[in-house]
Structures are given as structure tokens and as C-alpha cells.
Amino acid sequence: MLAHLLYIDPASTSALLYIIVAVVATVAYSLRGFFYKLKNFVLGNGFSTDNEFGNSDIIFYSEGKQYWNVFLPIIRALELKGRACVYLSSDKDDPGLRYSSVLYQSKYIGNITMTSVYLSKLKAKFVGMTTPQLDVMMIRRSKNVSHYGHIVHAPIDVFTYRKFAFDYFDSVFCSGPHQIKGIRQLEKQRKTDEKLLLETGLTYYDIMLDEISHLPKNENKNPVVLVAPTWKEYSIINRFGTDFFDALLNNSNYNIILRPHPQSYVSFPKVISDIEKKFVNEARFSIDNNRLGTESMAKADLMISDLSGVIWDFAFLYSKPVLLLKTNFDDILGFEGSELNYEMWEVKERKRLGKIFDENDVSNISDIVNNLILNPPEMQLSDLKNESVFNFGKAGEVAADQIITIVDNIHLDDNKGGQE
């Protein structure tokens, strides 16, 4: 039998190989799909969710408590406009679960696997979420949801989002024009449907601005410098260690707050402990380990950082300058940016935050700091903010209006959903 089956001429051999490869690949591929389905089924405790928010128009889904501030301004605005909404969270500690109002319901829907099951059975006109990659990763579109919106929760460009982040949303509530540019280009290249790209802004800025106005200002005579590095190898503290702070303290009168990234304690504990030991008796030096950085940021007159995402919030919310260490960006292979052929917004605009320094400047860093504190580029910062962030301070209300427009234009018999 072996002999009969094996003989085929070379051209058909190639085809035969092709068959074998194709069959094996297909089987393996579908088996994998089945495996993940099964895994999700087991971890998600089966597929028995009958969701109680049957015909809510507006549902928000949040992955974790850190996004509550993104949703809260929208929810409040909707309330004021007499619109009900539902808030679903995968985080037991989400403050949104304790928030209460007549027009508001919330529910904890379990871990991410259970969530994906729950969400795939959802019924609503509009579902808004901060989680990207709808219909790509575990969260799939539900047939009974007419419109999915992604609410952007950082001022950054689309480059650093993981692959296919926005492709299957109906709309994206953008924070700035750079996002619209990137998404449009990806749509074109991938031939995916054109999304509704809304000029919304950053809703959590509404909350933060409010909080900041209640925070105590720096009453100390001395200016305050906040050092907020990332945790990665190229960060300020990993590259220069204690020397950097020596240089800062030398020849200066300002106070220094170091706010290490929590991951630093895990990945590079020695660096942190060296710094802690050395400056334990230095009155002008302190370390801030609070969960929220708002207080330190409010006190600070200047921020020194490398690649941390917090620089934008600092510049936009507090209108204070940032001194940045010159660093190469992380490789964007595997992220959306790998398919975009222009300079990303963060790289292009970061020099407008204040000043960029490199390792040669470390020795005279205190001069640079003094200089920048004395001459903050206020106009430049304000321009950058106005160019980059839509609806600064009132994004929540804008978002609520946009959602209402979307919802009101959906007719229930229109299964395909979307805007008209």
C-alpha cells in the first residue's frame, strides 16, 4: 500500500505537500481555536449568563478601577441629561460599583474570561469601553449591541497600542487630532470599515482638574522638582543612580521628590535602596510612594522624567515644564506603530514640553533645572495642550452628547447599527 500511495509526479508532489501542509495547518489551527474556546468555557464557568440589563441603551464596560475616572464624567453628564446607563466592571474594587444614582446601575461581572462570555451576550444600543482590541482578543462583539465605542484614556498616539486596537469599534472617542490621523491611515491600509472618529478629549482630565484645584499648593519658598522615571533599564535612576541626585542637590536650593515606578522595586531593588540609603539624611530629598501622584505633581514646579507617560498629564494639567532625558523609544514592532510611516506624536512633540537633556548634561543638571524653573515656557505648553487635547476640562459632557446622538440615531430594527 505504501508504494501505491506515495507515487505522484513532482508537480503534483508539490501540490501534495501543499495539501498535507494545508490539512495539518488547518486542523492545528482549528484545534487551537477549539482549545481556547474550551479553556475560556472552563475558566468562564460555562456560558450561562442571562443578562439582567436587557434593553439598556447605554452600557459602559471597565476592565479595572483605574478607569473609573474616565467613565465618571460621562456618567454624571448623562445623568444631568436624564439618560440612564449601566456600568459593568471586571474589578471587585472598582469605585463605580459603589456609586449610586437613580439612573445608574452597576455590576461586577467576574474575571476577564467570565467577562468575555458575559459581554458576548450583551444587549444594548451603545457599549463604551476603554479596553482596546474589540473582536480581536477575548472580548467579542455581541450581535445584540448596535454600536461599540472606544473611549481613549491617554493623550498618546496610536503607535503604542497593540495590534488591531481600534479596528472593530464603530466609533472612537479621540483625545486629539493625532489619533484621528493614525486611525484613518490604518483603516485605509487594512481596508477596514471607516469608523466614526469623534473629537472628544480626555474625560478623566475633568475629574483631575477638579481634584487639583482642591490640592494644597507649594507653600514652601523653595521650588520643588519631581523626578518621575520609568522602571526600565534606560531610565534615569538605572543609568545614573545616586550621581544624578548628587548633581541635582549640588549648587541648588530646590527640594527633590523622587517618585519611582512601582515596578522598580521589583526589577531593580538595589538601585532604589542605594538611593534611599545615601539620601536618608538629606532634608531636601524625599521619596513619594503614594498610589496617586497628584499631590506631588501639584507641589512640583518641574518634572524630570524619561519616557514615562505621566509627562503629558503633568504638562497639560499643571501647565508646568518637563525636563526629559534623551532616550530612544521602545521598539514598536508588534504594535500599531509598525504599520505607520510617519513620526509618532510623542516623539515629535515632546521637545515642546520643556527641555531635553543627555548624559553629558548630568553634571550641570542643576543649572538646567534652575534655568527652566525661572523661565517656564508657558505659552508653548498652552499651545501644545490646545492643539493636542480636544475639549480640555469639559470632555465628559461632550462625550455624553456624542453618545446620546449615537443612541438616538439607532433604530432597534436596524440590526447593523452604527450611525446614519
Partner: protein, 1013 residues
């Protein structure tokens, strides 16, 4: 006609039709083959065009997706990678299942090839037909002695096609196709030239097909023709290359000339010069091919040396090589060549890789140890031997033939060496790379629980299960097993723990994972999918032939072992050992509970009732009455009635010794198994299965007991005392016997000298442990443990053949009969003796007391008759023969499928009709019936009247005794029954249908089949 043939038949029809049409057209078979090839190629052309189109379309999509696919693969893994690739496919409208569309259409053409093979290979008119240079289309062309020209031509055509087909494609694809062309050359080398002609032409046409499906591949050359300088340059470099690699030509030429000389030495020197000339010509052709593909060939050699595979892949291949090698060596009864061939397939690649490892290491050679330097020559020797096997094979057609040539070469022994050497090399290599260790928790708990499961299963739980399935076979109680087993278990566990404690961490880890795999395999074998070996009968399994398992079983098992290994490694690496701990605890509890519950329900948990049955010393005798009547009923289980014919032929003295006996040759058994025959044999026609089935209250055992009791009551009513041994399937204590003879009694050891017995040691407790082990071990080792019924013990302990072992004592009992018989009785005596001697497994004990195992059914039948004759002699001598009625009756014939050899009796059938009743059924329904009535004299007679073994009851006490009637027409029943699964639970006999037989068993026309009511 099997399914495959049915599916193939339309294609064979098409091939046949076209071929015959072509032959009518041309009148020449050779031309007909050319036309056949042409027509088939034309028929398949549209399909090929479609496939090429689909393939090209897919290729462009894939090409477009490639950079992103590579990016995603480089950055992500696991579930995330899968989801991204899925999305990517979605965005490019590419479905992996779409790739199967061309496959479906391509599948259509494969049958044509198979059909051509089937048709042409066996098409007899081709014999002796010549065509061009081919002398005989039905044979390989042998144009140049050992060398067949057609396969070479075919390969050249293939290579040309490959060259053009892949001219724009990837090198990888080209290399693959070259390898496949080489494989086909080997596979098809010795096929009939008609087939090769057909295929060679098919290849020629497929080359021309490229002009239609891939015209672009021929266009590129045109640019070259414009620039003559380029061609000159090419030519000069070609010349240079020719000269530079001239040594390759020398090697080829020498090799081919040597092959020719070698062939001529063995065959004939006819046309020797021509052959040498052609050999040189072929080496030139091959040399040019080498020059053309020089880079590919060199690269492939280098790439082989540089192959870097993951240790786990290497280990897996090594495992498969070792597994299949072992399974072939330990295969049931003899080595399995196909399995060994499979092992070879795995061994060749790892040997290549191992050589590569070694060659690379030679350069840097950190391990300059002398031992390793020895390894290289060994491994090269082994590898060239492996390849040599392929060269040695005269015909490279089938796996079987390759296997045959493997076995006949001394090289075979090198297989084990090869496996060992490759594994040694691997570990040396890995040592340098430092295998990654990982921490696990619960080390000792895991170890203890797995060892507890494995050895608990072997020493306690497995034996308990065997015990409970047939408690009466054992002389001890369940609690004995538990106590003894617990002792063994404790010793083994302590020893293992001590060893484990002192092991290095790496070895500990390996040992733990191995144990876990063994646990899984044992669980799989014992609980999930028990391997069916039938029932254990003395030392052998009724269905032991199942060990002759199909290869797919071994493939599945090897995959199972390997995947369980990786799953355990994965679980432990991910710190999931608590899951394993819980599973092991559950497993241990389940297996213990199950066994204990089952053994408690067997009623022999605390005490062995067999001991109770022992009757007071000194009374264990068979006491004949000299004055009153004696009746003996001997029931040799599974005695083939017709065997008497051969026995008498071989030993005519039997006829004189069995004075007064009549052999009822034309006897029908009530059924072909003991449990459904016995009630009727003992109790008469009121106890045949379909009558007993009307009683739906009592179990089969109760019904059997009732039959036995009715006989004994009848005996008592007639004033008879009853001396008996144990009949199977009865509740002996309810019967009311007078003397019960055990299987063997210590008192009887005093006759050991007379019987030639050495010592008494009879216990089958070791056997049930070995049985448990057999159930646990993977299939690959089952035959090794089983050892054709001699079990593992025989590897260590030489069986004392003169021992009155558990196996031997039933034979010795029959030999003992004259010694334990007296004539002191003043009461009529009924002597009921059941004998297992004649049952499978077929053994016997000769006059010197030596046990002979695994003989034929006929041999044990003859032995039984001859041994019983000694008792007959004793009766005559002691004057109790005339007043004794003797009935020797078996409960069914031999199920010959259980015997390896041929059926040993002649078929005296007047009329056979397999559809009415198969010979197998006929023989298994033909029992022995020998009867000697009181005061009968004269030589044994053969009586052809129609009898049933259910007549015995009436014969004993002369009620309507059919042996006394004048011959009348009778119709008797025979049931095709099965082993009742549990005689203690079933209320009905399991049979699917039965026969009514009229007058003559040996005439199939007399058999009427009836379904169960």
C-alpha cells in the same frame, strides 16, 4: 471486496477502459500505456489548472501577509498570537480552511494513480510483451543488470521539471522536491516496467503541462540569449566547475562500476562491456546533475550538519525510536518487522543530527574525553549500517521486505547500539548546554503518592480485582492478599524513598516525572481503556492473541506516553503540582475503594471457603463397591469428540483397553461453552439454556447448583453415595455430597515418589501480582511480562518441571486416581469427576512427572484417554470393572481459534455449508461421549447414533436411556452461547442464536438456525 476496493473500482474501470481503448487503437501494449498516460493527463489538466490558480492566489495573499505574520510571531505567543493571526487572516480575507479547496480537487486525481497501479500491476497480458528497449513490460527493465533504466529516466525528467517549476520559487521548495524525487526513485525502483513507463510519461506530460499552468518559468531564459557574453561566461564557469569537482565524477564512476562488477559476479558476464559503458554514462549524467545542483547539494549537507533542534524534539524522536524498537523486539511471539521499520524512520534523522552535533563539537571540542572519540566511529558505523539495510534489500517494495532484509543482516543488532549511542551523545551535548532545572513543590508528596498508586495497584488492588473476578480459583482469602501485598508495598516504598532521598536534584526530577507518566499509563490501562486479554485460565489468557496488536495501537500508545510526559513537565513547571497531588489522592482512593468493595462482595473477603471444603483426613479416597453398582462420570472440559478417531488410529491398544466402551461419534453438545452446557449435562434436557431462561428469578450459578443437586438427590434416592470433586460454577456446599475431593491434598504427597513429583509448592499468589503488573504496563511491555504464559517469573526462576505446581496438580490428580482408589465400600457409589486437564492452556504431565506446557489440544486429549486407561486397568485388576458404569463426556469441543496450529482432526462432514453452520461451530459443538455400561465386554465400538451430552443424566440411572433404544430419528438443540459475564448476577444465559440439529451432526443440511426467543 473491501471498502477500499469498492471505492477504487470506478477509477480502475476508467483506467481499464482507456487502456483497452488505447490498445485497440494501437495494437501494441507499450503504445497503449503511452496513450493511457496521455489521456489521463488530459483528463486531469483542468483540475491542475484550477489548483495552480488557487495556489498562486493563496501565495500572493500569503506573501502580502508575510511581514505582519512574522512580526506577530516574533512579538507574541500563545493565545494572543493566535488571536492576532486570526484577525490578520480576517483582514486579508484569508481563511486557512480555504486552503483546502484545491486539496479536495486534487484528491480526485490520487485514485487514478492507485487505480493504474492496481490495474497494471496484475494485468497478465503484459507478461512477455516488449516495448522499445523494455523486454518484458510485466517486470522491471533490468536494462543494465542491477540498474533499471526507466526509474533513472523518470528521475531525470522529474529533476528537469523541478528545476523549471521552482525557478522563481523558494529554494526550500526546490530542495524538498529533489528529496521527494529521490524517495520515489527508491520506492519505485523495482516495479514492473509498464507502471514505470506509465509514470515516466506522466512526468513528461506534467513537464509539458508547465507550459500551460506556469508559462512564466520559461520566459526568464530569453534575457540570457540576448547577451551572448553572459552565456559564454556561464559556459566557462560551468567548465571550471566541471573540472574543479572532477573527484565527484571519479567517486560516482567507481561506485557504479563496482556495482556492475558485483552484479556480474553474482549473475552473469553477458554484455559486461556494455554495462560498464552504461555505468560510466550514467555517472556522467549524475555528475552533470551534481554540477547543476552543486550548491543545493553542498548546502543541504552543511545544513544537515548545522541542524539545531530543540532538546525535546530530539528526545521525542529518540523516544519513538526506542519505543518502536522495543515494541518490535517484545512483540507477541516473534519480532515485528513493521514496528522495527517505524523505529528506523525515527532513528535515521536523529542519527544525522547526532553526527551533526558531533562534527560541530569536534571543532571546539571541549569534551576531549577519549570515550567520546570512540562515539563517532560507532555512530558513523551505525548510521552507514542503517542506510546499508536499505541498499541490501533486493526489492525495496514493501515494508515487509525491508524488514526481512533487516533481520537477515548482521546489521540488525546494531539498532540497539544506535539508539544507545545517539542517546549518550545527546546527554553529552546537553550537559554542555546545562539543562534547565525548575523548582517544584511537594516533591516527596508527589513521589510517595505516585509510588503508592503504582505499587498499590501491582501488589494489592490489581490482585484483589483478579481475585474477586473468580474467587474460587484461589486457595486464600482477600485479606491474605491485602496483608501480603501491604508488606511488599511497604518494603518497596521505603526502599524507593531512601533511594529518592539520596538522588541528585536533576535525577529526582526525572524520576518523579517518569513515575507520574507510569501512573498515567497504569491508570489508562487499568481503568480508562483496559486492554482485552479475555479471562485468565490457569496461567494463560483466553484472548492472548490480542497481544498481536495492530501497529496503530503502538502509535497511539507512544503518543500517549510522550504527551503525558510533556503535560506533566508543563504542569510542574507552572507550579500546578497541587492539582497533580489532588488527582493522585483521588486516584488512590478510587482504586482502593473499588477493589475493596469488589472483593467484599465476593464473599471470600476474610476466610477462604476452600479450606472449609476440605474433608477430614484419611477419607479422601474413592471407594468402590465390589458387590454393588458403581457409576463413574468423568467430565474432561473441552475434549474434542472427533479427536478419538486420531487417538485410536495412533494407539490401537486403546480399543482393547477400553473394554465394553462405546464411542458415540455423532454427538452434539448443548452449547460450546461450559456454563451453558453443564446444567443440561448434569440434569438432562430440562436444563437446556432456553428452558432455564424461563426462570427469571434465579442466577445462573443457582440454576447450575439446582441441576447438580437434582442429580445428587437422585443418586441418594437410588441408594448411592456420592464422591466428587468440585464442578465449576456450583455452590458446592448446597449440593449434599458425601466425599469431596480437593484439587490436591497434602496427604497425597506420599504418592509423590510414584508420580515422579519433586516437591509440593502450590500457590498462585505470585501469578495474580504478575497479572496486576501486566494490566498496568503499556502495550509495548505486555508481551514481555506475559511471556507467552510463562510470565516474568520464568526469567528469574527456572521452572521446576517436576514440581507439583498449581499448574501441574490437576494433571497429577488424574494420574493419582488408581492410588487413591479402594474397594471397601458396601454401598453403591456415584463418582463425579470434573477434569480441567483437557482445557486451554493445553499441557500435560508425563509418566516421569515432568510438566509439558503449551502442547496441542490433541496431545492433551490423547494423554487424558491414556492416563484414564490406567484407572481402567486398576478397576479390572481389582474386580470392580464389570459392576461399574463409566461415562466420559465433555461439555464442548475445542475452540480451535485459540490454538496457534492447525486444526488437528479430520472433517468427516458429509456436507459443509459455512453459511449454515461454520466448521468452527461444528467442532466446538462436538463433545466426547464414551459410555461403558455394566457388564459390557469386548473391544471398544463406534456407535453412530445421534446423541447429545444432555443424555448423560438419563444414561446414568437408565431412565429412557437412548443408548439402549433402537435407532430413531431425533432433533436436538445446540446453543451458540458466550461466556456469561457474571454467573452470580445474570439470570439468563447469553446466547444470540441456536440450532436445531436432526440426526447427523456432520451434515450441515441438518442444521436449522433459530434466533433467540
Amino acid at each position: 471486496m473491501d471498502v477500499f476496493e469498492i471505492i477504487m473500482s470506478p477509477f480502475v474501470f476508467i483506467i481499464k477502459y482507456i487502456f483497452l481503448f488505447s490498445y485497440n487503437l494501437s495494437g501494441d501494449y507499450g503504445v497503449a500505456i503511452v496513450l493511457l498516460s496521455l489521456f489521463i493527463s488530459l483528463i486531469l489538466l483542468p483540475i491542475f489548472i484550477f489548483i495552480e490558480k488557487a495556489k498562486k492566489k493563496d501565495d500572493t495573499i500569503k506573501q502580502r501577509m508575510k511581514p505582519l505574520v512574522e512580526e506577530i510571531k516574533a512579538c507574541y505567543k500563545g493565545q494572543e498570537r493566535y488571536y492576532y493571526l486570526k484577525t490578520l487572516n480576517r483582514q486579508h480575507n484569508y481563511s486557512p480552511t480555504r486552503a483546502l479547496i484545491p486539496v479536495l480537487s486534487l484528491l480526485i486525481q490520487i485514485p487514478f494513480f492507485i487505480a493504474a497501479y492496481q490495474f497494471l500491476e496484475h494485468y497478465s497480458p503484459l507478461i512477455g510483451q516488449s516495448f522499445l528497449f523494455i523486454n518484458d513490460l510485466s517486470k522491471a527493465d533490468s536494462f543494465m543488470g542491477a540498474i533499471n533504466i526507466l526509474p533513472v529516466l523518470m528521475t531525470i525528467v522529474n529533476l528537469v521539471t523541478v528545476y523549471f517549476y521552482t525557478i522563481n520559487g523558494e529554494k526550500k521548495e526546490r530542495n524538498q522536491m529533489i528529496v521527494i524525487a529521490a524517495v520515489f526513485l527508491i520506492m519505485l525502483y523495482n516495479l514492473p516496467s509498464a507502471l514505470l513507463l506509465y509514470w515516466t510519461l506522466n512526468n513528461v506530460f506534467s513537464f509539458f503541462r508547465l507550459f500551460i499552468t506556469n508559462p512564466e518559468v520559461f520566459k526568464i531564459k530569453r534575457t540570457l540569449t540576448v547577451n551572448t557574453q553572459v552565456i559564454e561566461l556561464e559556459m566557462s564557469s560551468f567548465k571550471e566547475r566541471l573540472i574543479a569537482s572532477l573527484k565527484v565524477f571519479y567517486i560516482l564512476a567507481i561506485a557504479f562500476v563496482i556495482i556492475q562488477v558485483n552484479w556480474a559476479l553474482n549473475h552473469t558476464y553477458d554484455l559486461f562491456a556494455l554495462r560498464i559503458g552504461l555505468a560510466l554514462l550514467i555517472s556522467i549524467v549524475l555528475y552533470i546533475i551534481y554540477i547543476l545542483f552543486q550548491e543545493q547539494i553542498k548546502k543541504s549537507i552543511i545544513s544537515i550538519i548545522n541542524i539545531e533542534i530543540e532538546p525535546r524534539v530530539y528526545l521525542s524522536l529518540l523516544f519513538f525510536a526506542a519505543y518502536f524498537h522495543m515494541s518490535s523486539i517484545f512483540f507477541y511471539q516473534e519480532m515485528n518487522k513493521s514496528l522495527d521499520f517505524v523505529s528506523l524512520l525515527f532513528l535515521i534523522p536523529i542519527e544525522l543530527i547526532a553526527i551533526g552535533y558531533y562534527l560541530r563539537d569536534l571543532k571546539t571540542l571541549r569534551y576531549k574525553s577519549f570515550s567520546l572519540l570512540l562515539v563517532l566511529p560507532l555512530i558513523i558505523l551505525q548510521f552507514s549500517n542503517t542506510l546499508g539495510i536499505l541498499q541490501l534489500a533486493d526489492k525495496l517494495l514493501t515494508v515487509y521486505e525491508i524488514g526481512y532484509s533487516m533481520e537477515n543482516s548482521f546489521l540488525f543488532t546494531f539498532r540497539s547500539v544506535g539508539i544507545i549511542v545517539t542517546s549518550v551523545l545527546f546527554f553529552f551535548y546537553q550537559k554542555q548546554k546545562k539543562l534547565q532545572l525548575f523548582e517544584i513543590s511537594n516533591y516527596y508528596l508527589l513521589f510517595l503518592l505516585s509510588a503508592l498508586y503504582i505499587f498499590g495497584q501491582i501488589f494489592i488492588w490489581g490482585p484483589l480485582m483478579s481475585f474477586s473476578s473468580f474467587p474460587e480459583a484461589f486457595e486464600f482469602s482477600a485479606i491474605d492478599i491485602i496483608i501480603k501485598g501491604a508488606q511488599y508495598l511497604a518494603i518497596v516504598l521505603i526502599l524507593l524513598l531512601v533511594v529518592f532521598f539520596f538522588l541528585r536534584k536533576r535525577t529526582k526530577l526525572i524520576m518523579l516525572i517518569t513515575l507520574l507518566v507510569i501512573v498515567f499509563i497504569a491508570f489508562f490501562n487499568n481503568t480508562l481503556f483496559p486492554f482485552d486479554l479475555g479471562t485468565l485460565q490457569v496461567n494463560r489468557f483466553s484472548e492472548e492473541k490480542n497481544l498481536d496488536a495492530p501497529i496503530i495501537y503502538f502509535i497511539v500508545e507512544s503518543l500517549l506516553i510522550l504527551s503525558s510526559f510533556f503535560i506533566f513537565v508543563w504542569l510542574l513547571k507552572r507550579k500546578k503540582s497541587t492539582y497533580i497531588v489532588y488527582s493522585l489522592i483521588v486516584l488512590n482512593i478510587v482504586v482502593a475503594t473499588q477493589s475493596i468493595v469488589k472483593s467484599i462482595s465476593s464473599d471470600k473477603f476474610f476466610s477462604s471457603k476452600n479450606q472449609v471444603e476440605r474433608v477430614i483426613e484419611g477419607e479422601l479416597i474413592i471407594n468402590f463397591s465390589k458387590t454393588k453398582k458403581n457409576i463413574i462420570l468423568l467430565m474432561p472440559d473441552m475434549f474434542q469428540g472427533l479427536a478419538m478417531e486420531t487417538i485410536i488410529e495412533d494407539n490401537p491398544n486403546i480399543v482393547n483397553e477400553y473394554t465394553g466402551f462405546k464411542w458415540y461419534r455423532n454427538t452434539l453438545s448443548v452449547s460450546r461453552v461450559t456454563n451453558s452446557t453443564m446444567p443440561a449435562l448434569i440434569g438432562g434436557f430440562d436444563f437446556v439454556p432456553n428452558v432455564l431462561d424461563k426462570d427469571t428469578v434465579h442466577t445462573i450459578r443457582q440454576k447450575m447448583t439446582t441441576a447438580m443437586k437434582s442429580l445428587i438427590d437422585k443418586a441418594h434416592n437410588n441408594g448411592f453415595a456420592v464422591t466428587m470433586n468440585k464442578f465449576p460454577y456450583t455452590n458446592i456446599e448446597e449440593i449434599g455430597y458425601d466425599i469431596l475431593l480437593p484439587r490436591w491434598n497434602k496427604e497425597w504427597d506420599s504418592y509423590n515418589y510414584e508420580l515422579g513429583i519433586n516437591s509440593v509448592k502450590s500457590d498462585n499468589s505470585e501469578l495474580i501480582i504478575e497479572t496486576a503488573l501486566l494490566y498496568c504496563v503499556p502495550l509495548v511491555l505486555k508481551s514481555l511480562v506475559y511471556n507467552e504464559g510463562s510470565w516474568l517469573k520464568s526469567y528469574f526462576v527456572k521452572q521446576e518441571m517436576h514440581e507439583n505446581s498449581w499448574m501441574a496438580n490437576s494433571y497429577n490428580f488424574l494420574r493419582l486416581l488408581p492410588h487413591i482408589s479402594t474397594t471397601q465400600n458396601d454401598q453403591p457409589n456415584l463418582i463425579l469427576l470434573y477434569s480441567f486437564n483437557t482445557h486451554f492452556p493445553w499441557n500435560y504431565v508425563d509418566n516421569t512427572g515432568e510438566l509439558h506446557t503449551n502442547v496441542s489440544p490433541l496431545t492433551t486429549n490423547r494423554w487424558t484417554i491414556e492416563t484414564f486407561a490406567h484407572w481402567v486397568k486398576w478397576m479390572k485388576k481389582n474386580g470392580v470393572y464389570d459392576n461399574t458404569k463409566i461415562i466420559i463426556v465433555s461439555d464442548h469441543g475445542v475452540p480451535w481459534h485459540r490454538y496457534d496450529g492447525e486444526i488437528e482432526v479430520n472433517f468427516p462432514f458429509i456436507n459443509t455449508n459455512e453459511e449454515k453452520v461454520s466448521q468452527e461451530h461444528l467442532l466446538s459443538l462436538n463433545p466426547l461421549l464414551l459410555v461403558k455400561d455394566f457388564n459390557e465386554k469386548g473391544d471398544m465400538l463406534i456407535d453412530n447414533r445421534f446423541m447429545s451430552n444432555a443424555d448423560v443424566n438419563s444414561i446414568m440411572f437408565d431412565e429412557i436411556n437412548p443408548t439402549n433404544d433402537s435407532i430413531v430419528s431425533r432433533t436436538l438443540p445446540a446453543f451458540i452461547a458466550w461466556w456469561a459475564e457474571s454467573i452470580d448476577k445474570s439470570k439468563k444465559f447469553s446466547y444470540s442464536y441456536w440450532y436445531k440439529v436432526k440426526d447427523n451432526v456432520f451434515d450441515a443440511d441438518n442444521w436449522t438456525r433459530l434466533d433467540k426467543e
